[in-house]
Structures are given as C-alpha cells and as structure tokens.
C-alpha cells in the first residue's frame, strides 16, 4: 500500500495521553495513596564489601509508629535475577543475608505510619559489619588474590561471551594497515525524573497488588512471584503513568520487593519511594567498559578484520549486564561488513553499584570505540571518512554469520545525505569541527532470559456495539509514545479513527502478556500483535458486510475511515457502525473479538530487524577552557514506515541529547564505591541552554518484518552521539580523546600535551 493511502499512521497526531499529562491529571505511582497506607524505608549498607555479623532491629521496632522491621531472615532466601534459566546468574538477594557487596546494598526494610518516623527508625537499626577488602576497578578485580565478591566466581569473572566469524589472525596478516587502540567508556545514570517506587497491597485473601513504575509489568509480576513464592496469578501488577525508564526499571528493584514483603507481613498497603540519593547510588547504571580494538584494512579502504576485547565493569550483581556484554560485542562490528570478526567480552564483578541495561544497551559504548577508530583509520589511509564508511557499509539482505540477517538497510543513503549536508555547510569558523558516526540498532531482542512460554507480545481487540474499540495491550508506555503508536496501528488496520480506540493497558490481570519496553521492541513486536488482533476482528466485520454488499467474488472488501467498501470501488460501501451492529447481532449479542500475538522466529540471535543512521555533530571547542559547545546535531536515519512522526522525532531528539550528555558532562564520580555526585546539582544532565539546533533527515525504508514496514526508533540515537562528538573535537582542535567522558579538563590537558610535543618537534623541523 502506498504511504498516501494511510489514513491514521504517518499523521502528526497528538499523543493519546496528552490531555492527562498537561493538566496534571496523569497519575504516577509516586502520586498513589491508599487508605490505611504505611510508608516504607530501606536501610542500606554504608560499606562497599562487608560481612553482616548481626542486625539488631529492637530499638527501631520500639519507636512509636514503626509497624515492622524486616531483614533477610524474614525472606524465602531466594536470589533474584532476570536470567531465570541460569540460576547462578540470579545473584541478588535484595535483602542481604551474609554479605553486602556495594554501598547501597539493602540490609533491612521497615514500615511506619508516616515517612518521618520511618526515616528516624532507620537510624535505630544496629548492624554489625566485618569490613572486607573490596575491589572497585574491574582490571584489578580480575587478578588472583583480589577479594571474592561472589564465592563461586573465580577471579570475579561473572560472564564471558564470545562472538566470532571468519579468521581474524589470518586476515590481519593479509592487511595493508592495522591499528590497535584502547578506549574507555564511562558509566551513566539513567536519570529518570520519577524515582523507583512501589505501592503494594496484600489482602487477607492472599492476593498481592503492586502499583509500580516499571518498564515491564509482566517481568515485575514474574520476578515478584519468584521472590515471594506467590503464584503469578495471585500477583497483580498495575503500571500507572511512568516517569521515565531508560533501562533502569526492568529488573525487580528494592522498592518493589520490599514494599511487597512488608505488605505481605502486615496485610496493609505499604508505599516505598526511593530518594534521589538512592536513585543515583542504589539502583543500576550504564555499563562502563574498557576496550582493546584491532582493526585491519586494505590501502583502498576495504575493512577486512576487527578484533575486540572488552572488560566490562559489572558492579555487585549480574542484573541485565550479561546482555549489555553480548550486545556491545555484536554492535562493535556495526554498521560495516567484516568478513572476519572476533569479540571476547568479560564481565567482572566489582564492589560498585550494578551496571545493567541503559538506553542503547551496550551499543553506544561499542559505537564510541568503533567510530572513533574508523576516523583514525581513514586518516591513516588518507581516505575521506564518509567515503570509507560508504565503501564498507552494511547493505540490504546482509548476513552476519551465526548472528543475524539484516533485511532492510538504507545506511548508504543516510551517509550520502550527511555528506551532502556537510558539503553545503561549507568552511567552518576556527575551533569548530564536524564529526560523523554511523550506527545501527535492533528492533527488539530475541532474548527470552525470563523464560516465558507466552508470545513476546500479545494484543486483544474488542469491538463494541457503538463502534468503539477496546484495545488491550500488555505493552508498557513509559513516555516513549507506545500508547499512541499502538492505538494508531489499531485504528489504521480496523479502518476507524484514533478517537474510536479506548486503550486498556498497564494491568497484568486484564492485559495480555507483553515483555515490555526494552530493546526498542514495542513498535515492531507489540505493533505486529496489535495489527494481527485488529485484522482478526476486521475479518469478522467483513464477513458480515459481504452479505450486505454482495460484491462479485473477485472484489475485496476494506474498511477506511469508518466505512466498509469494495477495495477497488470505494464508492460502493456501507457504514462501519451498521456493520458492527449486524455482526454483533449475528454473534448472538457477543462483542467482536480479535486476538493477535508476535514472537520472532528464524530471525537469528539478536533481533528481527535493524534501523540505521548517521549523525553529524558540529562542535566548538574553547582552547582556553577545553569546554565543548554543541553547535548543531544533524541526523539522517531510517526506521521503516513512520507510524507516529511526532513521537519519532521526540525519540531521536531526546536520545541524541542523552548521548551528548553521556559523552560530555555526565560522569558518575565515586570514591571507594561511594557515589560522590549523587544529585542533579553535581551530576550534570544537559539543560535546554546546552542543546543545539537539531536537523532530522528522514530516509525512506521499508522493513518487511515490521507492522506496515516499521522498525526501531527508540534507542538508536543514543548510539552515535559520543563517537560523533569525539570525532568533531578531533576535527576542531586536533586532540583525540579515547577515554570518556570528553570533559573540559581532559580536553584541556590533551591540548596542553599537544602544544608541548609540538614545541619539542619545532627546532628539528627548522633545521630540516
């Protein structure tokens, strides 16, 4: 179907949650209150590594208003983890029994009648610790003789992943030029404005309801079932509006678990909201990674082989860090065709806050490294960096052995569009530079860590007698716009208007299962499920309309803008509303129901589809201070058929700024495992004043696996920013920063170093 024929998708419509969100009516978990509700707080370890010798809760329990204090002895003693098939990687007790492994590990939880009392009571819990030696740097923690953070993991080696195709060593011996470089990617806080929080209510009939800020209500339900011993069906997870996730709200968190546990013991509602300091210090964060990368090429710019070694800073627990480890390996080959590739990744436990999923999931780190090195290689070979990229870019239907088949890919067009923009920009003022980075990202992961037998996404459509459509989805809106996108897909497929759709979402007891918001999966996976459900319902209407319209059998029927008509002769038709009434009468008064589901099959190891793009960033570097000023961010990208243009642009812009913040100013500083800048004053996320002009160039593409040809758009633009900025800084002032972040201090130091070495060289040049 040509694009102009769509009546809902591709249109600039307002977000379906818009009115609620701009009037203050939208309710988030932090806004929730229940009658008879108690306030919970969590006592956290001040030590990075210590044995718990004794916990005395008596003084806290005696404080008037305190209802209960719980420690590990009050739990089932199970360990939490999202890789439920690998029990040794389920390593987080949440309430620690024998040891604490980072500053922030939870040791006790309590509930009191008001927040002040709860806070006061925390100081009255006496914990006796035996301090243990700790390891903070993964490069140290790997050595023999370093403290064991988890007893069964020798040398603190948590996960090892290898990816390999071709023969890199043999290939390197044939290359004209080889580079070997080391890089470091720093961590990043998710920075959700709504903190992690949960309100749990356990009733006398043995059922638990949890309102919580989560990226996957279904994962929360399953993991709570693991940890509490309740059956899945006895746990109802309700996800109200969510104030941001960015990867942080995917694992079971301490607020969810402790609120549930406290409520189960007391049979009263208990609410826990993490403080901003807990957000920074006691949740999860982006994985910091050390890389060693060897790249071999021919004189003409053909990239031949790449070998990547990565040591990732895991922190105290596994969480979803194993996936970041794998994906950084996979995406280190992107977005180029390598005949020979080898990746060895090591995830190492340390006594720091756990590194886990964070928007981009390992790909931004891979891209900073690989795209910095591509520019370095281009300079070595004397080839234009964009030309080098075009020469090696992934093209449609490219197969990555044993990993993936890439079907749609318009990377070349994106590179050409950026090349054109740069040429039109013309000569730059002094100390300005433009850097480029090319990227690709997945449209949902083919990862079933959680081990569910359900489809990855499901949807249910119910058409009522007034023509209104109830759409039930388990997909998780967290701000990315999936409620709007999925409503648009439903309306388009059924041939009704957006206002005809009533969305039912965020309640595991009502909505069909969906794995939730991660890995940029919902447009493609949940979208396919919604489209299938709508089509099934639509077919039931068309059967009824067929009897009324009685078309020649060679004609198809379709529905468009509430009218059922002959596809080839749109003027011959009848009202959708009349057909709905007839159809319901024909079903003995039952509403029309369509069901849909999607699980990727035969799509390799990673994802059913990939989006691609190129970002150019223009910066100005102040030689006196080292400060980088963003001047322009230009993105040419392709994401298949655009469903929700305003939502798409918002994703691109927001992700680009999050990436720029990570590259430049967002550095989580810690000493002996304690975060030193755990607040928004000292942890510098970019402000409106820091954000430059943004230009988006949409390149057309069509992904056969996606609904209407759509694919990823949620995380991809966190990927290229850091590499593009590093390349821009180099082009502006000639210093190559390989260790993130690109702080003013580091750039100034590099500029001074450069000046010094240049001065030393000068006299010899004069003699020559």
């Amino acid at each position: 179907m040509s694009k102009s024929n769509y009546s809902v998708i591709g249109k600039r419509v307002g977000n379906v949650d818009g009115v609620e969100k701009v009037t203050g009516g939208a309710k988030y978990t932090v806004d929730m209150v229940l009658p008879n509700m108690l306030h919970g707080k969590i006592l956290r370890s001040p030590h990075p590594h210590a044995r718990i010798l004794n916990i005395d809760t008596r003084r806290a329990e005696q404080l008037p208003g305190v209802k209960i204090v719980l420690t590990a002895k009050d739990t089932l003693g199970r360990k939490n983890g999202i890789w439920r098939n690998f029990r040794d990687l389920c390593d987080e007790e949440i309430l620690c029994r024998e040891k604490v492994r980072y500053v922030g590990d939870a040791v006790a939880a309590l509930a009191a009648t008001d927040l002040e009392t709860a806070e006061k009571a925390l100081d009255l819990i006496d914990v006796e610790y035996e301090l243990l030696p700790a390891a903070f740097d993964p490069l140290d923690a790997l050595h023999d003789g370093m403290p064991h953070i988890h007893e069964d993991f020798e040398r603190n080696m948590n996960v090892y992943r290898q990816i390999e195709w071709g023969d890199v060593e043999e290939a390197f011996s044939q290359c004209d030029h080889i580079r070997e470089d080391t890089f470091y990617c720093s961590s990043q806080a998710h920075g959700c404005l709504e903190p992690h929080c949960a309100l749990a209510s356990f009733s006398h009939d043995g059922k638990l309801t949890v309102w919580t800020s989560t990226q996957s209500a279904y994962y929360t339900q399953l993991l709570l079932s693991d940890m509490t011993g309740l059956r899945e069906g006895d746990i109802k997870v309700i996800k109200p509006h969510v104030g941001g996730g960015f990867g942080s709200k995917l694992s079971l968190d301490s607020a969810q678990y402790c609120a549930a546990l406290l409520s189960m013991k007391l049979t009263r509602p208990v609410k826990i909201v993490l403080t901003r300091a807990e957000e920074f210090g006691a949740t999860k964060r982006r994985t910091a990674i050390h890389y060693k990368v060897k790249l071999g090429a021919m004189k003409d710019g053909t990239l031949v082989a790449r070998k990547v070694q990565a040591i990732t800073e895991g922190g105290a627990y596994t969480a979803m860090g194993g996936t970041a480890l794998y994906l950084t390996g996979f995406f280190s080959s992107f977005p180029y065709k390598f005949d020979h590739y080898q990746y060895d990744g090591f995830r190492v436990y340390t006594n720091n806050e756990t590194a886990s999923a964070c928007r981009g999931f390992g790909a931004p780190q891979a891209n900073f490294v690989s795209e910095s090195q591509i520019d370095m290689m281009a300079e070595d070979l004397g080839i234009d960096p964009i030309e080098l990229r075009i020469k090696n870019a992934i093209t449609p239907n490219h197969e990555i052995p044993g990993q993936a088949t890439i079907r749609s890919c318009e990377l070349r067009q994106c590179l050409e569009a950026i090349d054109k923009w740069i040429k039109e920009r013309g000569p730059l003022p002094p100390n300005h530079g433009i850097g480029v980075s090319a990227y690709g990202f997945m449209s949902g992961g083919i990862f079933n860590w959680i081990d569910t037998p359900y489809a990855f996404s499901s949807a249910l459509v119910k058409i009522n007698v007034d023509g209104k459509v109830d759409l039930f989805i388990g997909a998780n809106e967290i701000g990315q716009g999936s409620n709007t996108t999925l409503s648009m897909i439903c309306a388009e497929e059924l041939g009704v208007r957006l206002e005809d759709i009533t969305l039912h979402t965020g309640d595991t007891s009502v909505c069909p299962v969906d794995l939730g918001a991660w890995g940029s999966r919902q447009t493609l996976m949940s979208g396919n499920a919604v489209k299938m459900a709508a089509l099934e319902a639509k077919k039931q209407l068309l059967e009824v309309a067929f009897h009324t319209l009685k078309p020649n059998v060679v004609y198809d029927l379709d529905i468009k803008d509430r009218r059922v008509h002959l596809a080839e002769r749109p003027r011959r038709g009848i009202s959708y509303f009349d057909v709905v009434k007839d159809a319901i009468r024909g079903k003995e008064g039952q509403a029309i129901i369509g069901r849909g589901h999607y699980t990727p099959h035969g799509k390799g190891m990673i994802s059913p589809a990939y989006s691609f793009g190129v970002q150019a960033v223009e910066v100005k570097v102040d030689r006196q201070t080292g400060k980088v000023e963003l001047k322009k961010i230009v993105t040419a990208h392709e994401c298949g058929q655009v469903i929700n243009p305003i939502g798409l642009e918002g994703q691109v812009e927001g992700a680009s700024v999050m990436a720029a913040g990570w590259a430049l100013t967002e550095e989580l500083k810690s000493r002996n495992g304690k975060i030193l800048n755990g607040d928004f004053r000292d942890y510098k996320m970019l402000l409106a004043e820091d954000v430059p002009e943004m230009i988006l160039i949409e390149v057309d593409s069509y992904e056969p696996e996606g609904p209407y040809g759509a694919k990823e758009a949620g995380e991809g633009l966190t990927v290229p920013g850091a590499g593009a900025i590093a390349n821009a800084v180099y082009n502006a002032v000639g210093v190559r920063i390989t260790q993130m972040p690109l702080s003013a201090e580091k750039i100034l130091q590099a500029l001074e170093e450069k000046k010094r070495t240049q001065k030393e060289v000068d006299p010899f040049e004069a003699v020559a």
Partner: protein, 161 residues
C-alpha cells in the same frame, strides 16, 4: 508545633494544618491532594515542582508552606479554564512537548511565568526560562517549539481583543 495556615491555590482558599518545616510541595501533594505538581529531587535542582507564587516561578520544594501564606499560588491544576486548555497546554500536545510527562507540570509553569513577563521571547530567552527544569526524555527541542507556538497563539489572542 503544627499550626493552621491559609493558602490560596488556583483561586481557591484553603485552611491547612502544617508543621513548621513542611514545604509548599508537601502541602500541595500530601495535604491538598494536588499531585499534578511533581516531587523529583526535593532539593531545588530539577524544577519538576515549579509553581507560580506571587507571579514568579518557584520550586515548591524550597518554599516553606508558612511562607506561602497570603500568596497567590498557581499550580498546573489551575492552568486550564474549565474544560478549555491554556494555550501552553494546547501547544505542548500539538508540538509533542512531553514524553513521560513527569517534568511537564513544572515545565508548563516555568513557561507560563516566562510568557507572563514577555509574550514574545526569543529562542534564547525561552531556553534560559526553562533552564531550571530538567527533562530526560525530549531533549528540550519540542518543549521549546511548544512554548514558541503558545506565545504566538497568545499574541494572536491579545491582538484580537
């Protein structure tokens, strides 16, 4: 000691019992049930709790409730007139000026304070006007567009009157 104070919020008068250390934010959210104003950092760093007090945008978490006595306070709940949305609210929906929506109430109130002072701000003035408000989702581009759009609609409205 708790005491009763009079607060005027969104043109309605309330009598509330407060503790001396209680912030305006606590009172709005926990005593008056106006949860539109968001609690995020509680330290004045993020702007999510911005309300307008005496014509100025303030962080409600940094204002003691007792200091707000006698002041005219406007929160996001008071922005619309009946069922008619304020031009800023209309523009945020039209231009996509929010995603998760958590910063939105504060952002709207900062923008309103800005436009109340200057109905025709430059882009730089808009950026400065909302630089006390963090947003992790949007990258600010569409928020700035929304404020520009609202300003234009409001100027049109003024010239029509």
């Amino acid at each position: 000691m708790e005491r009763i104070i009079s607060l005027r919020v969104n043109k309605e008068d309330y009598k509330v019992m407060v503790r001396p250390g209680e912030s305006l934010l606590d009172v709005l959210r926990n005593r008056l049930g106006m949860t539109g104003t968001k609690e995020c950092c509680n330290e004045g760093d993020c702007g999510a709790c911005t309300v307008i007090m005496g014509g100025r945008a303030v962080n409600a978490c940094l204002v003691l409730a007792v200091e707000a006595e006698g002041e005219e306070i406007l929160t996001v709940e008071g922005l619309a007139r009946g069922s008619a949305l304020h031009p800023l609210q209309e523009a945020f929906i039209k231009c996509g000026g929010f995603q998760c929506g958590f910063c939105t109430p504060g952002m709207l109130m900062s923008a309103k304070a800005l436009l109340d002072e200057n109905i025709d701000p430059t882009e730089d003035e808009i950026r400065r006007g909302i630089s006390g408000n963090l947003c992790r989702c949007t990258g600010y581009v569409k928020i700035i567009d929304s404020i520009k759009e609202a300003a234009s609609v409001m100027r049109q409205g003024e010239s029509d009157e």
